[in-house]
Point group: D4
Chain length 248, copies 8
């Protein structure tokens, strides 16, 4: 709870601008809207810089639709991740202007213009099988108001493809590295640039990949300094983090 809002409210109480009962109520009730099944966190934009993102997996199509309608009514920018075909269609029915990225399984709705910072985020990916995660990261970074570049299929098995594109990486403000299998790309990029790197392990690979565990452990143990890691296949989280850094 923000010290400044407490101070303001206390002042109002003192000056009788706000009654005691109302003050207690405000402290409790203001910062979210209760839809019954969900409590939408209206206060988040102020607190952490961006409205709640809707994580589609495990939610019913109808719940997602209601949340989107509510947020859309507020004029928020909206992002739905892990969005199935059916869920995307339901959202498009309500907001025909929504943008659906099938490979990335995202739907975005842009209601408010934002200041776009000069620096850009680059998403570097090892192989074509990592594209769904790349696309999730891309859409997230875009809706959060960033310039983004993609550099895909530059895995370490053909490392010269990476070297030929070093400039676009080195000139970025923050780097997202997406890789499955052994995830070595994060370490190699980490050894070559002086920008913060957010590594996303993917669940792409043969047997002992164990659903992305191999790449995850690999990235956590990177011998290159400056690499931090998000969850397996979590393109959204990487881009959210990158956006925070890009906007500093």
């Amino acid at each position: 709870m923000d010290v400044k809002s407490i101070e303001k409210l206390l002042n109002d109480v003192k000056n009788d601008a706000v009654s005691l009962d109302d003050a207690v109520k405000k402290l409790e009730n203001l910062p979210f809207s209760d839809l019954g099944f969900a409590k939408i966190d209206n206060h988040r934009a102020i607190r952490v810089g961006y409205p709640e993102v809707i994580y589609g997996e495990g939610k019913t199509v109808d719940h997602v639709k209601q949340i989107v309608e509510h947020m859309n009514g507020n004029g928020d920018n909206i992002l739905v991740t892990r969005c199935s075909e059916e869920m995307a269609q339901a959202v498009l029915d309500v907001c025909p202007d929504a943008h659906y990225n099938q490979m990335g399984r995202t739907v975005s709705i842009s209601n408010t213009e934002q200041d776009i910072p000069e620096g850009y985020i680059v998403i570097v990916a090892a192989g074509t099988s990592d594209l769904p995660v790349v696309e999730e990261a891309y859409e997230t970074a875009k809706i959060l108001g960033n310039q983004v570049k993609k550099l895909t299929d530059v895995g370490v098995a053909g490392i010269h493809r990476l070297f030929a594109n070093l400039d676009v990486i080195r000139e970025a403000k923050v780097v997202i590295v997406v890789a499955g299998m052994e995830g070595a790309l994060a370490s190699v990029v980490g050894g070559l640039v002086k920008k913060p790197i957010i590594a996303v392990p993917t669940s792409v690979g043969y047997g002992a990949n164990f659903g992305g565990l191999a790449a995850l452990l690999s990235m956590l143990n990177s011998c290159a300094s400056g690499v931090s890691v998000v969850n397996i296949d979590n393109g959204f989280g990487a881009a959210y983090n990158a956006s925070m850094i890009n906007k500093l």
Copy 2:
């Protein structure tokens, strides 16, 4: 085996109220009914306070139907958990008054009135994706004869939603916390209330959640005292335990 019943039986034998053979038989055969494929534990109500609950998963629809019919004939209250659509339909065919909760995958049949204690159980859940587990816990607590309140979508990413509802948690007699992902809600609630907390990790989340393992380990390692844990997605177990405590 209950010392008192042995004593009673021994007395009866001594007084020739019961023959030796009958006594041996009784000790062996009384406390369950044998359906061939299943042995229904009639004695459980006396021993642990409630009739056997039917765990639907891995059983055939026909077996469940027969067990329900048998127990219904005894006038027991009945709960079927992990109940598929088809299984629920089969039970409803036999007992049209049965109550089916689709999200919670439960069927309940109330045949006997119970004393409802004054205290209530509160179920606190992190996100809307945790609702199936919440509903399983809810139905279990109800059929066991408790007042229950639900407080959902109060995860720590928007912690003020939790603070705005602290009263309903603090006034409960026992608290069930349901959370997936990193399961931090259990620790935060544990640090705020002086009631026993039963934490239920759920299998909701991205890659390195590993089917609920992340939340499970998180809750077991809670830095807040007073938190105990049940199995992943085990809403039933949490509510059963909470009911025992609520009825003390």
Copy 3:
């Protein structure tokens, strides 16, 4: 943050009993004492029912000594867990009345009399190798103001030892089951009594015990309802939880 204290404070501000600046300060600074390296949570007694317990592992002897001295000055009851010989000696130097339990690795200091509830906690343990965990639980339950009984070496390999002592278990208000190896004792007790059971897996056992993992998984998967679980070897956590329930 407690709604009632906010209300009280707001009232004081409104009535000019408290200045605005002081109110803000109070909201921020009151509930802990800052020792530099540690922030002692004075407010916890009110919030969760008991002062902070000192977890000795990983702390320096000197830090623990300073925290004990500070709390002792406040007249708190004190419990140090995972306390090495050397650490215990340092505490005894400051508080000669402190009670050191070597097997349980605890030090307790009783400064305030407490109301002892009528019900008791029973600690049931599988083998003699589980005694350190039993003792940690025992000392915790005692300092928290409970009557406690111990029943050790009643593992399922000689199940009649358990049956001969069922009464003392059945008459308790809450049961702690401590077991290593396969931890089956929790399920067996769970099938026999109608009291809430808190199971503590221990790290006792051969190779594939994997430091208590076997007993932990076993207890989490208990086929008996009414069993909840705390961390491996966490006698303290089990007793803390049991005390909460015993005092309801």
Copy 4:
């Protein structure tokens, strides 16, 4: 390679009853029939006491059919395990006398009469969800020429159901215990009888069961002596082992 057959062959060579070339060939080629995709181990009956059993999983229906036909032609007793509906039908087309156990997923063909030993194997199972594994074990023990008794749904949550049936367990020559969840039944039975126990963990259970891992670790760590363990859901392996012991 059997020392006695070598001796016999060497004698034949010495006496010119067998030519050198033939002897070498015999040593190499005799003990299996090559179907191209499979090498059927005809020698196994002599070496380990029973013909090869066909493990259906991962094999094509056509391959299984050919192997069955070949073995049937030799007059062998045949057992197919992990047999799908389609595979079973294909075998029944060739051998209409084959016996298909749908729940146990086995097909057995009895071509040769066997001596049945006096002692019997008892299969003790915790719950009705464990029945598929029980049936696999049952069919295996039968085709290998044993008397078998089944005792199901006697899990430790209602331990008196087990006690009421102790005689049938104690009089068996060897005991198979089948249990999922926490697998405690193996330890409890192990503490009550003086017969060798073969424990089969099953993959039945909630989340942290991890596909049978919980029961597996539990059984491996049994505090009761005399319990050995086979693979998860491996009813076949348990029965094979039990049959060896029963026939000693």
Copy 5:
């Protein structure tokens, strides 16, 4: 609880040979001696065929000494496993005739003569690093009253060493296979003999052995039928099981 003893006792009660109070007491108190910290299971010899074995790890030297003294007074045969140097010395101080096997970490005391069956147990081990487990198994099998043969250093890397000793394996009644690293020896022996095999994985090996996990999984997944498994490094458990089988 044994049906026959209940029957006998009931008869005595009926005939006034035993008073009611005494009967209840007997049912409760007879089968163990309570040393305070331990309850010695006197009834086990009748129930499962052999007195309790003392597992030294995690027990204090003094506790072990007291248990040994108590059992020695009863004239039991005694086995202490996982026995440290210091613990062994303490036992030898009380019973100078005790036999200490340093490599196997066992102490055995033979007070009663036993019938030794004709069949023998063979312990087959892969390498010299497995010897501590072999010795534990050997001492266990001996004190339980069996003939035992040892065949060590016959791992599959030099498989002819095994073939040269096949007779001693084939003529045994039951086979214990002890192996670390990849534990392949169990499968190879299992493919060659028609006797029940009890496999003991050991914690011997390089990095990805993970404390015996590699050998454990390997043995559980043995492609040879007739192999059951005990815990990692559990020579005692294997021998106990083998003894049960050998005495059938």
Copy 6:
């Protein structure tokens, strides 16, 4: 980056045979073709001896088709692995001469004749359920220009089947061992031949096989020297490695 090409280019720059700008461009752009979604590594043939292989899993059918068309236009030999029915059909539509191996899930296109070395690779497999991995390895080794022999169903449960075929193994230049379950075959073969062995664990097996983990750990811990291991079910990787060795 190859020192010799740098030297050559530097020389050209010095002699004005190449302009500065062109040289920089060449260093950056030459070694791959950019299809937008993929960067085909044309340089790989020179660098590591063979063109890129297309890993089908996780790629769209359309992407694979485009890559194949591009590479086919270059006259490369092509291999697609993990190729679904639909993907195979799409490739066959473009290149009717392509060879589809359904069991091995591969498509190969031979455009260039190669020198076939004299030595051959032998693929030794434990069971018929391992055939898909065998076929993947077989097709890989063929398209890379090797002679290959297959020896299947020679698992250690019937070890004489292996001995009868030792010659074909001993005369190979390099050996691939494919096995699931406990993977013991690798150790047994490793103890019998003096050729490098590449072991491929497969995901074939019962419960505690854990998707091939058992065989993987088993092979990594092989007591036989000279065994190296590739990923679970990775027939392609084993054959690629074997081809490198066979061509030395």
Copy 7:
């Protein structure tokens, strides 16, 4: 390899300012010094912004001493992490001005003044047992030229301690969260501030913490966006990453 340096070198070659041989040599040899056992990466400062840090664990005292001497001669700023007492003493012998942090196990040597950016890094830690990791992070951030604030013992079990210090967190440019046990602090802070958060799981905790795995999984699965994670106990990595962001 940096495109600009290649361009420069090519130009020099073209203008005969550099001979061909020298150019090749330069491309190969310049960027590191070979000490025989180690190759010190002189080029790293230019490439990734900071000289190599010396990771002490697993290195001999003598090797570390030599590397420090060599780098000190170059006037580099130096950081040794995971530095034992003995290693620290050896470094202090050579550079008496070095700063040794015993709790953080670091030695730092400051030879060059740096520009310190205005923003600061805040290190937020859950408990006093996490202090070694906090100190490693602190020393790393300092030697890399940053302002750093520490906020320790603010774990979620007493969440008001955190709220009382929110300002110092909210005003930082980047936040490091250090926590063991269940690591919930990362999620709670992540829900309250709009700055990038780098989470460091520590190995502090009871049994099922599994050496930090619980906190690691918890942080990777954080329900709060904007949290990225480094390796367990890796205070250095977190601070390095934070420094990169702080200097943007």
Copy 8:
């Protein structure tokens, strides 16, 4: 068992050059010497190309000494791995000419001259902490009769150090890559050379390295073809394998 020796023996039997009894004995007893606690595999040199290597860990000093003496008497070349200081001293007492490598924990004794092939093995290592494994591999390759080059401290965090040394890697006949942490070096080297690569994961690294598991999984999942893997820290196994390939 070698077909040719069987043939020879059969011939001798036929011609009465060898008696029947002697033949049977020979088949059984020839290929190893029995020291009681160990069976030395004399036949291995013929069968797999090199005498048994002595793995020191878990063996007593005395056993190793006896084995060395026995083998030394046969004039074998000898290698002891995982050799403690004390063990090394004991061997040096018997064979003063033995060569002890303290860092690699090996002792080698060269009794027989060997043909050294022209090609060489290169050992490429990521960091100085990997040196013990490098040295074990080095000594193994030398005693097996190979030319060996070492290239250490060329990890991917400073990838130009690797590029500057590519020639020595590319000209080798076979490459051993030793790396801890994330083990990315194997993939990078694998993408650059056309020689078979044997990767050795090491247990070097921070927390989530899990004793080498991270590097192991990373290497098994390498996106570069031509990489096979041996056990964690198994320098010996890698070199043995490399020697086999180098001598083809």
